[in-house]
């Protein structure tokens, strides 16, 4: 049975139905709900992988799948589209969701009501935002994922969570208002909200209306960039992410990537090289805004005292790198950025999970929740406690046995740090290396070019290396504080189900290191599709609605003679 194109709508319907079933089950039956949730999330991941394989196996012009949910001709009805980029994001979402869910099943899902239903609604919003090809539909899916994220953000309750959640919700409500204003302005100028149709209409916009169009898209971009975490729109992000419960924060690691995805999708489609007077509109804003984000987050990461806070700031650094790289509109740089996106999302998600396990071993008394509350007394000299093997009784010095939990946490922390800093041998290094390579060879390796490398490219190159250095300093200091200070404390009790997601995420990063070539080939295909928006436009506009049975029957006799 041929599942395409109906498979495209499945990632949205599946979580919706699952969430509805779980709401019907009521407040009880938590283990049952956890099991349903896990099965549904696994199914969602399976569907995403099938979509990914489908896009990969098609020839390039046919690799864009279009589904018309209401069976209307394209500019009039909404459309769902899957191409290389969407399929990649879907699979990434599925992987992160599985890991966050496994971690939550250990104990976090008991911390509040309706965790599993909210989780599925969040997934529905994420999948929908990656699949939709309509601006207003994108707004609806954004609201769905935000509504669920408000609930998840507050999951577990507590004072810090509620006050960080209050800021998070008000900022996102404001951003939604801006989204609507931007979408309305674009509709007022072009008369359409379909992304493919917009790409066709924008070169034809009369000169008098072009200012209005640019204002509309800029307002729209503010909404997306606030989501993506571009400086100065990102002050909400660090407190919100670092106070969210660990599995939720791990899931949120993909949410900033939604902002980056929409910027990438809309900007390459609406303001491509074919957009006439609007070609590459505001590209400099992305480049320099991204750089400002890297600088601010890089400095802040040096001052961070808590691991969760450091993870949130690392999200900002990676968001800055991605935004800046997207702004160059250079296919091989975009391909490298997509590879970096995969690796950094997996690593950051693992770091959020790990942070909770590491901090669990510290007693609640010395857990400083606010960075500005009290500095850590870690630099003061502490007398060697009793458990250490500094022996003054002249007995045989026996090496301490490291409990397996501490060994596991320490090794995972090192792997996460290597991935985020971008040091060899893991995939973070390959991502950063291909970014640097693309910046230095704008036309691809081996094609010697006479055009000098632009100042912006040199700046980004320097910032990439410097931000790596800042993360290196911050992570090594954190590692020394958390693992090497001889403070007497019990090693944390870990459940196997809590270690599994971290092992999974880091294992995938290792796999990514070995399979870097096919993945880079895939991201290159995704970047090429983005760089040639006419393929996307033709695929979407050219899709015909399925004729009704009557129309089919009516057309049959004409064919027979």
């Amino acid at each position: 049975m041929n599942l395409m194109p109906h498979l495209i709508v499945a990632p949205i319907l599946l979580p919706l139905l699952t969430a509805a079933c779980m709401l019907l089950l009521g407040e009880k039956h938590r283990p049952l709900k956890a099991r349903i949730n896990l099965i549904s999330t696994l199914l969602g991941l399976g569907i995403s992988v099938m979509l990914l394989l489908w896009t990969r196996h098609q020839a390039i012009p046919a690799s864009i799948g279009v589904y018309l949910p209401s069976n209307w001709q394209v500019p009039f009805g909404i459309a769902l589209v899957v191409d290389h980029l969407s399929a990649l994001m879907l699979v990434l979402t599925g992987i992160i969701a599985i890991c966050a869910l496994l971690f939550a099943m250990a104990r976090w899902d008991r911390a509040g009501a309706s965790f599993h239903a909210l989780f599925q609604i969040q997934l529905m919003g994420l999948y929908g935002a990656f699949l939709t090809a309509d601006l207003f539909n994108l707004f609806v899916f954004f609201e769905v994922l935000l509504a669920a994220s408000y609930g998840l953000m507050l999951h577990g309750s507590g004072k810090t969570r509620v006050s960080a959640g209050l800021h998070y919700i008000s900022i996102n409500l404001l951003a939604s208002s801006l989204f609507l204003i931007g979408a309305a302005l674009i509709y007022g100028v072009t008369g359409t909200l379909n992304m493919a149709d917009l790409a066709l209409k924008i070169p034809l916009v009369p000169e008098a209306d072009r200012g209005l169009l640019h204002a509309g898209t800029a307002i729209l971009a503010v909404a997306f960039l606030a989501k993506a975490g571009m400086w100065p729109l990102n002050f909400w992000l660090v407190p919100a992410y670092s106070s969210a419960s660990a599995p939720v924060a791990a899931l949120f690691a993909i949410m900033t990537k939604v902002g980056i995805y929409t910027v990438l999708r809309l900007w390459t489609l609406l303001f491509s090289g074919q957009a006439g007077a609007s070609a590459y509109f505001a590209g400099d804003w992305l480049i320099y805004g991204g750089m400002a984000t890297i600088v601010c987050a890089g400095i802040a990461i040096l001052a961070a005292q808590r691991l969760e806070r450091m993870a949130s700031l690392s999200i900002l650094v990676s968001a800055g790198i991605l935004l800046s790289a997207v702004g160059f509109a250079q296919p091989n740089l975009t391909a490298a950025a997509l590879f970096y996106l995969i690796s950094s999302t997996l690593a950051l998600s693992a770091l959020f999970l790990l942070a909770e396990l590491i901090e669990r071993s510290r007693s609640s008394a010395d857990l400083v929740l606010e960075d500005d509350a009290e500095p850590q007394p870690s630099l003061t000299v502490t007398p060697p406690p009793r458990g250490s093997n500094l022996d003054d009784e002249q007995k045989v010095v026996v090496g301490q046995i490291i409990p397996w939990t501490m060994a596991f946490l320490g090794l995972s922390f090192i792997a996460c740090a290597l991935l985020i800093i971008g040091m060899p041998p893991l995939s973070g290094f390959i991502g950063k290396l291909s970014l640097l390579n693309a910046l230095l060879n704008p036309l691809g390796l081996g094609n010697a070019t006479d055009t000098p490398i632009s100042t912006a490219a040199w700046c980004l190159l320097a910032l990439l290396i410097l931000s790596g250095l800042a993360s290196l300093i911050a992570f090594s200091r954190m590692g020394i504080q958390r693992f090497w200070t001889p403070l007497e404390r019990p090693s944390p009790i870990l459940r196997r189900i809590e270690c599994l997601p971290i092992v999974l995420l880091l294992g995938l990063c290792v796999l990514l290191t070995f399979k870097a070539e096919p993945v880079l080939r895939y991201t290159q295909a995704a970047a090429d599709t983005l760089n040639n928006p006419e393929r996307y436009v033709m695929a979407v506009i050219g899709t015909r609605p399925v004729p009704s049975p009557q129309a089919k029957a009516a057309s049959m006799p004409q064919v027979q003679p």
Binding site: V162, I169, L193
Partner: protein, 114 residues
């Protein structure tokens, strides 16, 4: 009519913005409400403003753009109203939770130091 609508949107947006910047949570809620009203009117006006024109095709009315108004912004506004209504309700719940947990209605969860 354009002037009246423009002034209305401007007043709503201005008062909404001022209220959102206030330190008390209830003021922020009211500000977000007013902003969403302003935005809804704005979407509505983007479909061009007419009086007494049909949005949906009707028998007896000639089928050209002179006799109809754009139905799409009206549909969009409906969606936007529902969503902003739900979000306001949710925000109110968080406001109450914050009030209960922190004992103050300041947006930062603590009174500013004198």
């Amino acid at each position: 009519m354009e002037e009246v609508i423009a002034i209305a949107i401007g007043v709503l947006a201005a008062s909404g913005t001022w209220l959102v910047l206030r330190p008390r949570t209830f003021q922020v809620v009211m500000g977000l409400c007013l902003l969403s009203y302003g935005v809804n009117l704005f979407i509505f006006s983007m479909g061009s403003l007419f009086i007494g024109k049909e949005p949906v095709i009707k028998n007896g009315v000639p089928q050209d753009l002179l006799n109809y108004t754009d139905p799409l912004p009206q549909a969009l506004v409906l969606t936007a109203i529902v969503i902003s209504f739900a979000m306001t309700a949710l925000f109110l719940v968080v406001l109450l939770a914050s009030r209960g947990l922190t004992g103050t209605d300041h947006v930062d969860g603590r009174e500013p130091k004198e």
